[in-house]
Amino acid sequence: MTIQFGNPDRPNSYIGKTVPRPNARKLVEGRGQYVDDITLPRMVHVAFVRSPFAHARITGIDADAARGVKGVLRIFTGADLAEVCTPWVAVLAHLKGLKSPPEHPLAVDRALWVGEPVVAVVATTRAAAEEGAALVDVDYDPLPAVTDTMTSLDADTPVMHPDLGDNLAFRRLHEQGDVEAAMAGAHKVVRASFRTARHTGVTLEPRSILVDWNKAEGQMTAWHATQAPHMMQTVFAKHLDIPESRVRVICGDVGGSYGIKVHVYPDEVATAAIAKIMGRPVKFIADRLESFTTDIHARDHEIEAAIAVDAEGKILAIDVDDWTGIGPYSVYPRTSAIEGNQVVNLCGGPYDFANYRARTSVVFQNKTPTCQYRAVGHPIAVAITEGLVDMAAAAIGMDPVEIRRRNMFADDAYPVTSPAMMKFEGLSHHASMDKLMELMDYDALRADQAEARKRGKYRGIGIASFIELTNPSPFMYGIGGARISAQDGCTVRMDPDGSVVALSGVTEQGQGTEAMLSQVVAEGVGVEPAKVRVITGDTQVTPYGGGTWASRGAGIGGEAALQAARALRGSILEVAGAMLQADPSSLDIRDGQVVDTDTGEERMPLEELGRIVYFRGDTLPKELPRELVQTRHFITMDYPFAFTNGVQASYLEVDTDTGVVTLLKHWCVEDCGRVINPQLVDEQIRGGIVQGLGGALYEEIHYDEDGQLLNGSMADYLVPMAAEMPDMIIGHVETPTGESELGAKGAGEAGTAGAPAAVMNAINDALRPLSGQVTEMPFTPERILRALGKIED
């Protein structure tokens, strides 16, 4: 029996409805439990001494004064931890040529970025640990720092890792068709430079970990704010020489992740190593400066790009040369080549064109390592693509919506393979654009823009179509050798009271995973969502899985949950059939009652069935299976990724005297396949949009030429706050994936993918009458005034 998704009045129709999140109430009552809320007996705290230099040889460490601080128990150097913890090298086989040196939990001999942990101080209180850390005297011999991306491969730039030969970590060139010939014969060729700033995630809960090593049990337990508990289990086991089965990672409430908490951080591994040495619980909570200097950064790209179009606006070719500086190490185990690789994979994504060339060059720098952050590579690729398309439209005098309509893959063209060799199962660019036009009333907005201009106001409309990579298969990491699961599992069981417990390998970071699972399981079994308790984030308890990344929770974890729930329903009905002397296929479960499918007549509540199975099993036939617990796993097989699509629009006003941009409104229509919980999807989109708006207007990590990070506080690194953000209109088109019964694709990154490009295009639409154009994010007042020629020094 398959679920009739088209019938909203079907029994147990929870998939597709807004149901409350089961874990929201505790959070509004302050009863969540984040890692820093946990206190264990004999717990100690660790604070880190970090390198103040971007590149320096460590010539001596004097910790005598620190040892004298009351409460300080132990002090560890890189050499100390290297004895118990093996280094890691973040390369993957499918990223051909990627290189990176071995990285230790604490710097050994050499520090390579400002903020790299050098010495660990352990004390009975955090205050004492910090006081001790301040008294550790490290002698450094400063070395030249590599800080500029574009000159990093020049002959006179020092090579950071002599063993690796040069500063090039990874390079990939993709060519399809003949770009040179297409450019040569084109009606118009438009060239532009783009720049996206170095960002970081600024999770409100800093990175947090509490690790205990129970020598008596031979077991390590880590309470960890992470997106990928099973991946971390493997990492701790491998590098601390513990059997994988003796490492338990527990991920309770997490205060925001966005990709920041899916990586291996040296200070967190150091915390685990110290716990193993000391045999007691060790807690590390990053402070805000540590967050800015050691949470992964992202999006630091410089791009030269060109687009060729014919007289009718058809795209003939796109050419992209992308450069990014990743810091001194590729980040373990996902690597820091993925973002550049994604730019190559995603540029030109919505469009049907023939000639495509893209190269990414990933270079080492003495700055904080960069790695995957929400919408990895998408905001860059969408800014390049949509920026070029708008410039081409302006060059030939065509409306930006019209040029997109002329180039987007037709909605009935699928399956297709893009010029970047990405396989699209089914997208809806045209239907999404139609819906956007309707939601924003495009023509009326153009009229408002024209009317405002008469009053001397410069308003702009920006459109950005995009694709989003979701539901990754092992093609993302597994084929390269990483022990990162693309498969996910769910165990669903019925307890004696008729309630249902679902244990899932995907994790909750606040996006609503547990609500999504509760409604999928509720519908799959036939109970109310409130009867389903969801358990995630415990490697010793849940089925093995990948966790939260690449917008996979609903599409992968949701399908596993649905299949497990349907299997449990079958088991329940088999028992019910025996008890009721009925054919199980004539029975259904609705709202926790076994009923006759045809008449809906109630035959038995689940708690009665539970009572019999668990306490009076003697009354059932001896051969009757009574397994009221079922596990199913799901992995995508047909496509490497389930691509989604969407289109965003920004309406804004530029103050041409001050350069300040005021966001008036924002729209997003997206297609994530089956929408399981409309409210949660909309709020993912909204939150994602605002994260993208931050990148467009405010967020930029600044370094000086010596590699000193200049704005490591929330007073200096600007993030979007409520007063500056617009209201957002969200719409959907649903093109379910055929790879699963559920049909869900991911929705977590679409907002972030498209928002910066929409804002860029809107600003440039506003500035076009003044011949101003901006392509370097964030679009600060200064950059806008420079584009207008009002600042020239």
Partner: protein
Amino acid sequence: MTDMFRDKVDIELTVNGEPVEARVPAGQHLVDFLRAELGLTGAHASCEHGVCGACTIRVDGAAVRGCLMLAAQADGAEVWTLEGLSDSAAIADLQDAFVARNALQCGFCTPGMLVAAEELLSGGSVPSRAEIREHMSGNYCRCTGYEAIVDAVEEVAQARAGKGAA
């Protein structure tokens, strides 16, 4: 650090309506005292310099930053954290609205958001959306994009005004 920060100060205050006596390090922040000494982990430490609002609590009727106030300064004060405001049901309508509107995702900002919102609404007037955004702009949320929070606060403001008029 100097010896001054190891000096201890005796304080008496009420927290969530209950009397508390403690001897605290002179340099201990109020949010750390509440979290570590009293086990009130609802208020969260995040930026630890007064910008993000995650540690917002109510002290003598005002929404204050728990990371910018020392525990020693709370001597004689009346302190309410989200745990107490929940037990007393003082902000039950706001909490209900936050859940119904999904005005929280990871929940880390939520305790501070609720205290800040209650401060705004306790004035009794019905603020505009722009006024709500302005008042809440000292509280950082990375998850929601703020619109759901503004919706929830606006809804409660209107509901309370309606009740007052009835």
